[in-house]
């Protein structure tokens, strides 16, 4: 039953991620003819908002290193996710195998 529950929850997560892509419509280009960006990062939006609330504020530090392009940036993000997912998979692999062996051992000793 747990497995069923997990599957349903994974489907719900996939829907939560996919639905906005379908629900949010791209607005028409503004008066300046520039295309409106959708699904930009919320962090960047907050940065723009600082510029609106406090126009005189000047950031006093710059990032140490910026990925040379968004491709390289996504490589690093993918790497971050892959390392994490790899480790979780490894651990679950060990755990399932251990559980299987523990179940098998009493059977072999009794017969």
């Amino acid at each position: 039953m747990k497995r069923h529950q997990n599957l349903l929850m994974m489907i719900a997560v996939a829907m939560l991620i996919a639905l906005p892509l379908w629900m949010v419509k791209k607005p028409a280009p503004g008066a300046d003819g520039k295309e409106v960006q959708i699904f930009a990062g919320a962090d960047d939006k907050a940065k723009d908002l600082v510029g609106i609330i406090a126009p005189s504020y000047k950031p006093w530090a710059l990032p140490v290193m910026e990925p040379p392009s968004s491709e390289v940036g996504s490589l690093l993000f993918a790497l971050q996710a892959a390392l994490g997912a790899g480790f979780i998979g490894y651990y679950l692999g060990i755990s399932t195998t251990r559980a299987k062996y523990e179940k098998a051992i009493p059977k072999t000793t009794t017969c």
Partner: protein
Amino acid sequence: MHIMEGFLPVKHAIGWSIASAPFVAYGLRSINKRIKEKPEQRMLLGVAAAFTFVLSALKLPSVTGSCSHPTGTGLGAILFGPAAMAPIGMVVLLFQAILLAHGGLTTLGANIFSMAIVGPFAAAAIYRTAKALKLSFGVSIFFAASLADLLTYVTTSAQLAFAFPDPVGGFITSFAKFAGVFAFTQIPLAISEGLLTVVVMNALLRFNSRELLEMKVTTVKEVQA
């Protein structure tokens, strides 16, 4: 929830760093102590860190038309207590600040405070409260992880509003504006994080019930259910 490099005034940057430092130091001590006492839990600590690595790398689209990411700190906070997540969150934030120009070193203290302190402490407190109210294992985990995620973004909004109060409406107006950017975007993502945390916890409950019992995360009754 990453406040960009240089986007907090000097005083605020220093203030949040000083506020976060003792939590990180205490967290490191508690992790060291635990690994010395129970070396077998090292792997599970790795899982908690890995979960934060994965979730904070996933920038997901939201109904508001912008993208944001979950934090993944709830799982570790429930397993190891909230203090342990402060140094773990710091590692993730450092990685992103140095290599990805995502967040920053001057805003590291503030970002640690929202993601690696407020979130985990909220998760642990909500989990304990939900258990006290006799909610089921899954429901308790879900509320703890998703509300911790949301509260992290509420904290970021408050930090920015505190640093940049609206010239007319002050802190409250500014907070409403930043929360409009962060907190609303985060609602569906927080639900996703809650569900994913339950999925991983279900797997741990099934295959690692011995560890969870030892860590007092769950009870014998729930393992047998």
